[in-house]
Amino acid sequence: MEAPWQQHSRTLGLWLIVLTTVFGCTGRRITTAVEDQTFQPGPSPVPVVEAAKVVPPTAVVPEPPKEEPGEPARVEEPKIEVLPTKPPVEEVRVEEQPVAPAHQPAVQPVQPAAVSELSDIFFDFDQYAIRGDARSGLEANAGPIKSQPHRTILIEGHCDERGTSAYNLVLGERRAQATKQYLRDLGVPSSQIQITSYGKERPFCAEHSESCWQSNRRAHFRHP
């Protein structure tokens, strides 16, 4: 038989245990440490679109002799707005398809000039929507393409170096498709348009900067 004080002390002790269990362990601890905080200045103060006019050092020198005779204007093309010169990789691509006979420039003298009139259009990062500034370029391109209904054009979709190769291949194709669709809306027959994607495999610019990436996110036009 326990005395009353013993029962009370036992009750008190048990409740103390319960309260300690319920409330004694709570306590939220949250911390955040910032690591590797860096600021990297931009490559130049010029706007991104302007940077597309920059010609990489390798673009001028090596490849012009390799060009096919049918497209001599590629080097000195008179495009003014966005891209006054073409990347050297394009010229290598042309070399892989030697289709131009020697007499072709004499037979169709107007065609190289038509190609040179087709200006590249550029895209935003991770996007394939036609930008506002690209619409005017496509409208300008549509005229020469429609004026030569027997010639097809190849639209190449290109991307910058960010992301995986597979992802960029898909993105490049979507860019080419979006460009094709826009040209179709402008009245260019779809039978006249072919598309392909090079993803990030054939960049115009090899630097790791936003201006360079911007110049690589493009749709390029050429004759297949």
């Binding site: 949250i30 955040t32 905080q37 600021f39 931009g42 929507a129």
Partner: protein
């Protein structure tokens, strides 16, 4: 009296030990970090347009977030609702920045953004381990963020290493969810705290 106490504590003991056995279910966690309301109006000048371009899951193991180990055997698994932590964290960051007054478009940079924000999840884990009388909840996040100013091409990079721990007597999934959201809120808050907006460009306060 003695029998009453024995029954009471026996019942607690049984529930604690047996009632919480794990069945292997997946506990979905909703990520919705909420900035403190007082800070919401603290940056009226932050009318900066941010394009949340892409988030990458760079964790070594991509399956789930973690495990809840039950006291009486069995486990449950934590995962984000939807099963894609990269998207969930990106959306959480978008929601957070929007609540802070920034104009955020997710994966849409066609609106001429001022800043393109990309990120990579380096670590994201949630674990809960039940012990006698309480459950210990822990979470770790490690996010590498890169903010690129479109105007000048400058880039801000930072790695936010967040961690949190909590002990609860009676574990509910909301406990883990709240802890994760608090940790993310704290981490995202560092992005806000350590940066400033100058001419619609993001700059580090202490470069």
């Amino acid at each position: 009296m003695r029998q009453t106490f024995a029954l009471f504590f026996g019942w607690i003991g049984l529930v604690t030990l047996v009632g919480c056995a794990g069945t292997g279910e997946v506990i979905p966690l909703q990520l919705h970090p909420a900035p403190p309301g007082a800070e919401k109006m603290a940056k009226p000048a932050a009318a900066i347009r941010v394009a949340l371009a892409s988030f990458e899951d760079g964790r070594t193991y991509h399956t789930g977030l973690g495990v809840r180990t039950h006291l009486w055997g069995g486990v449950s698994y934590f995962d984000v609702a939807g099963g894609n932590p990269a998207d969930a964290v990106a959306q959480a960051l978008a929601d957070y920045l929007t609540a802070k007054g920034w104009q955020v478009t997710k994966r849409g940079v066609s609106d001429n953004p001022d800043v393109v924000l990309t990120g990579k999840i380096l670590d994201f884990s949630v674990h809960a381990k039940s012990r006698v009388g309480f459950t210990e909840v822990t979470t770790k996040t490690k996010l590498a963020l890169q903010a690129q100013n479109v105007a000048d091409g400058s880039t801000i990079r930072m790695t936010l290493n967040g961690s949190g721990a909590d002990d609860v007597f009676w574990f509910e999934p909301e406990d883990a969810q709240a802890l994760v959201n608090d940790v993310l809120t704290d981490s995202f808050g560092k992005l806000i705290q350590d940066t400033t907006v100058e001419n619609k460009q993001l700059r580090l306060k202490s470069p």
